[in-house]
């Protein structure tokens, strides 16, 4: 029924608006241009699952922000909303549906 389709579309849009989003430093667009100029929406879950979802969109992304042990690289900063992620080793921090993940680099000189 038309009404049901309308409801499904609406629910879909509502659902998308309550999924976590990911924002990142523009430095990473140099290596992953497919992530530029788009809204990155991923299912809620642990930080590890969030990064895995971004890696699906941009294969190889995880090697830039994680080391081979799956830990956050030393000079990569990751925040959930306004809080720096706590578990940098296993990335178990939970990102809720209305959360926003920020990935950026630590400041450097030279």
């Amino acid at each position: 029924m038309p009404g049901q389709q309308f409801t499904a579309d609406l629910l879909s849009k509502v659902w998308l608006t309550i999924m976590p989003s990911v924002e990142m430093t523009s430095h990473l667009y140099r290596f992953f241009p497919q992530l530029k100029n788009r809204e990155i929406i991923v299912p809620a879950g642990s930080v590890a699952e969030i990064i895995a979802a971004v890696n699906e969109m941009a294969p190889g992304f995880n090697d830039y922000v994680l080391d081979e042990q799956g830990s956050l690289r030393r000079h990569v900063m990751l925040c959930i909303n306004n809080s720096v992620v706590i578990d940098k080793l296993k990335l178990s921090d939970r990102v809720h549906e209305d959360g926003k993940v920020y990935i950026f680099q630590a400041l450097s000189g030279g």
Partner: protein, 394 residues
């Protein structure tokens, strides 16, 4: 005769091409990214650069079209279970028993891909990569995948096979100051010398451990530090703990190996079975980082002397290159064309190379110099380059 000079710099890869009697630089590649080593595979012309991303982890970058385009690879990775016994930077108040009194283990991650070497002509796709924290990686598919050389990683001098369990021997490899930038104090493999006459015969040099040799393609490794001396340890002739800054061999006479060490210049004419100290501090030849060996004559080598480990700069404000042609008995210094006033350059371990009669070196001050008469006279290639980490003819 080489027609290409490849510089790895703090701000990217710079390639100079021979154009008639001159050398012209191309626009910088990998712009803004530190490149700690770059070279050209003589077998197929592939260009390689080791990207030392401060934030995003080390990558290899590969160009199969002479630098027209580059492909970044994240393929050098430690396998699951690769561990090492942690070392700590020895400070004046360092307590070797802290913090736990027991060996502390860490899972290995690549901090830096410090050196790239190529296999023999009949080993297409065979590459070697030396890393901090002290792993030697081998590829047989031109860098698409890499395997850790486990006999070296599991060497008894590092504590034994930590894949199997805890350490069964003492870890005698110490850290390199070059690792401190990554927040650790771990060893690094910066020199990989493949014998051009025997592809299974390889030497590696480790800062800070010493030189190791394999004669069976990497299945077994043995220390090759006899004759080496260390000024900074209670036992200067200890088997381990040496700080080779770089080793290089003569392609035409590969049993002739040279080493610029923290504690002097050393020479071997028996494939590193024995080393002889050939420093001449009175002639300014003692401390430094790079060393280059003639293509055909194993008794001829060049160094770029520096003042001392406590003053890592040109001696008395003047750059010079020293050459020996008799196995280090005598050294001759050449200054023609090099700055002799207010020059405080330091030339790092990979930043001197020779190809035939042509030599080139670059400094962390961003100066590059070229000689086409075996180091006797020099001319400037550039004074405004980024800090230079490696110089290789292609």
């Amino acid at each position: 005769m080489s027609d290409m000079i490849i510089l790895g710099t703090r701000k990217g890869t710079v390639i100079f091409d021979r154009q008639g009697a001159g050398w012209l630089p191309r626009p910088i590649m990998h712009a803004g990214i530190p490149v700690c080593y770059a070279s050209r595979d003589p077998r197929d012309g592939t260009l390689w650069a080791s990207l030392d991303h401060g934030h995003w982890g080390p990558k290899l970058s590969r160009s199969r079209d002479d630098g027209g385009s580059w492909e970044d690879l994240s393929s050098v990775k430690y396998p699951k279970g690769a561990r090492y016994v942690v070392k700590y930077l020895p400070t004046p108040d360092f307590d070797p028993d802290s913090p736990t009194g027991q060996p502390e283990y860490a899972d290995a991650s690549v901090y830096k891909i410090w050196n790239i070497a190529f296999g023999a002509a009949d080993q297409p796709g065979r590459l070697y990569a030396g890393t901090i924290p002290g792993g030697l990686f081998v590829s047989d598919d031109d860098g698409d995948s890499w395997q850790l050389n486990r006999p070296l990683w599991n060497h008894e001098s590092r504590g034994g096979d930590l894949f199997a369990g805890d350490a069964t021997s003492e870890n005698q490899w110490n850290g390199t100051p070059a690792s401190v930038d990554y927040g650790v104090f771990e060893p690094g493999i910066h020199s990989i010398v493949v014998d051009p006459q025997d592809k299974n015969h390889i030497h590696v040099a480790v800062s800070t451990a010493g030189v190791l040799e394999t004669s069976d393609g990497g299945q077994t490794w043995a220390s090759r530090n006899r004759g080496m001396t260390m000024d900074y340890l209670p036992d200067p002739e200890a088997e381990w703990g040496h700080d080779p800054h770089f080793i290089s061999s003569c392609p035409g006479q590969p049993e002739h190996l040279w080493q610029q060490n923290h504690c002097g210049v050393f020479y071997s004419d028996d494939a590193a079975q024995n080393w002889t100290k050939v420093s001449r501090p009175d002639a300014g030849v003692h401390f430094g980082f790079p060393i280059a060996v003639d293509d055909d004559d194993g008794r001829t080598a060049w160094v770029v002397p520096a003042q001392a480990d406590s003053e890592r700069m040109a001696i008395a404000g003047g750059l010079c290159v020293a050459r020996t042609t008799d196995g280090g008995h005598n050294w001759q210094s050449f200054r023609d064309g090099l700055p002799q006033n207010n020059a405080y350059d330091i030339v790092l371990r990979h930043s001197l190379d020779v190809a035939g009669d042509t030599l080139c070196f670059g400094s962390t001050t961003g100066n590059a110099y070229l000689s086409q008469d075996r180091g006797e006279t020099w001319r400037c290639l550039g004074n405004n380059l980024p800090p230079i980490y490696s110089v290789r003819f292609g």
